[in-house]
Symmetry: D2
Subunit: 206 residues, 4 copies
Amino acid sequence: MSQEEIYMAAGFGAPVPRGSKPALIVIDFSYGFTDTTYPTASEAGDQIAATNRLITLARVKHVPVIFTVIAFNKAEQDALPWLKKATGLKALEEGSRLVEVDGRLDRAPGDAVVVKKGASAFFGTNLSAHLTGAGVDTVIMTGATTSGCVRASAVDAVQSGFNVLVVGDACADRAQPPHDAALYDIGQKYGDVIDAVEGSSYLKSI
Amino acid sequence: MSQEEIYMAAGFGAPVPRGSKPALIVIDFSYGFTDTTYPTASEAGDQIAATNRLITLARVKHVPVIFTVIAFNKAEQDALPWLKKATGLKALEEGSRLVEVDGRLDRAPGDAVVVKKGASAFFGTNLSAHLTGAGVDTVIMTGATTSGCVRASAVDAVQSGFNVLVVGDACADRAQPPHDAALYDIGQKYGDVIDAVEGSSYLKSI
Amino acid sequence: MSQEEIYMAAGFGAPVPRGSKPALIVIDFSYGFTDTTYPTASEAGDQIAATNRLITLARVKHVPVIFTVIAFNKAEQDALPWLKKATGLKALEEGSRLVEVDGRLDRAPGDAVVVKKGASAFFGTNLSAHLTGAGVDTVIMTGATTSGCVRASAVDAVQSGFNVLVVGDACADRAQPPHDAALYDIGQKYGDVIDAVEGSSYLKSI
Amino acid sequence: MSQEEIYMAAGFGAPVPRGSKPALIVIDFSYGFTDTTYPTASEAGDQIAATNRLITLARVKHVPVIFTVIAFNKAEQDALPWLKKATGLKALEEGSRLVEVDGRLDRAPGDAVVVKKGASAFFGTNLSAHLTGAGVDTVIMTGATTSGCVRASAVDAVQSGFNVLVVGDACADRAQPPHDAALYDIGQKYGDVIDAVEGSSYLKSI
């Protein structure tokens, strides 16, 4: 059997329900990941523009918009095994410019900014409880990087009980093959991979 | 820059410390993933044999061996969003043969079997607390599938504070490209990808 | 100021919203906690009867009923620090009668039984994700013991994003003062302490 | 049987192991809980002084000192069910003086400050992963309030795999009965309740 046939036989890739209470989660569009003067960043201008189009629609429909950033204190920089493997991320220091949400994003004062310490927006954060408390049933995700923090967050979102939509053309990565492989796995196993046009239609339909 | 150069500049791919207190975690080698009469399974004979070689050495060194299986009750089959996307996994019913650890594995009566409800062996389970309580500092992982549960577990293991070693030739998947892409991402960002020979050397060195 | 005045000034004790999608969670009414031939148990006959009245109403309204039990495997018995403090709980072995849900409860085949490894029904389990996936917004709790697992579960339930109602006369404990102190703290800080009559009215109103 | 006999028969109250790698965790000694001009605070001068004596010894032995504070953003103030029950805690706004660590504490620039959103220092935070990554096996706890955040953190610490020591005379609360009831429950079920003298001896012995 081809890979496609194997995955279809295994029952993967079904479309997920679109709930009536979505939230838009913008993963790690902080300067450390969007300003290419930093070695950990990738080009994300188009993806930020696409995210802003979704944010505009989210405002109209009172859909929560939540941003995440990675930021470490000195004790964590020494202790966390992740930073022994992905050593470049040590640069994401609390209080530094690298951990600020990119100013190109249409952030509003009431938007939550979740500070995370790992790849997943849900691991070691209050995000799942926040979404549950807000009655959210579906998460729409954009951000960086596709194969890293977006993917890990998509896996945790569906594990946490939410339907997952990942907006492929609003996700940035350092290289194309990991971006593509991540979207493939997400689309088969964790959530629907949509584009910003479909994301907009869904938000308008709320 | 090439992808390799970009990743090196970003500080990825450093070798992780090998601690003095490892545990061997065998992910989802239950019949639902190893007996190819089930559509969710993949061929895993060689990977089970490699895992058994590591188990034998783990016994000598009193290294904990922990197995995981996925198993759902009826309420979860209805409620969990994951099963709306990965519909074939609904077949993993509590009490069914699909959720039993494959009998080819050298399981001992004292080994823990962690029942999980998602891709990650850590999500919604007591595994991190168990390992912490046992003083474990490093996890060695084998199992299935590489791009699904092994990868999600590797991400959560490092996020949980453990050094991660994934034994590539002891991990099975349904198709080669997702297997390769997962090992690539793991090796760059989450843990060292080793082979069973290196895993054996490490266990002997304890 | 009196304690009452201090707590009122601090803004505690407000009534919590009753949502439209409750779940009934029955904590640790397994023989190890309900059959007084075991030293870890307490008398729970009236509380089980009160729980059954709530279960009957829950069935009518298709409200999920979820049971929890504590059960340890041998590896956990050695590794978990909790069992070094609360040594008597080591007796709660996987597969033993102590970890079975008490047969006096009106359990249905489709009810989930969550196996937990700590005091809280949410810690190291999939319960929060299950409830979120089911769209639950409010949890009604009964069980044993009030000052131990019920209280810990109530704290985690509200932290996880759910409104909490604890049915005081359906919660059993080994002694009155800890039972009373736990209900006091819960009522001030974590959830409403109601009785089975009020719990029944709420379920009828769904 | 008396309560004491019942608890002894149930196997509670055993002394916990003192490990070789402790951390000192100072719970919520922020102005919102220590400056009695705020209605959520209690008098904590003696307890802060006792904590400082432990901090001094911790520095000598390179024992990590970690502070926690509660702080909410506006989205959380609206969404979290906890703040519907404990309404006074809404005042703990991000960026306000109430969420700053009390200046009387001997905080060093390298100490981690964990921002939490619930009663437990572990819930929705990276604390367990941080401690595991640092190789910590035992937590020493001080802070406020005994019956609220200290107790919830002690329960989660032992559930997370750590031995727990709570320094009773370094824990502050709004009223004596809940303080006493919390220390009783902790001492029976979750960790040893010690005083600052014993805490000092332990730290000196490292």
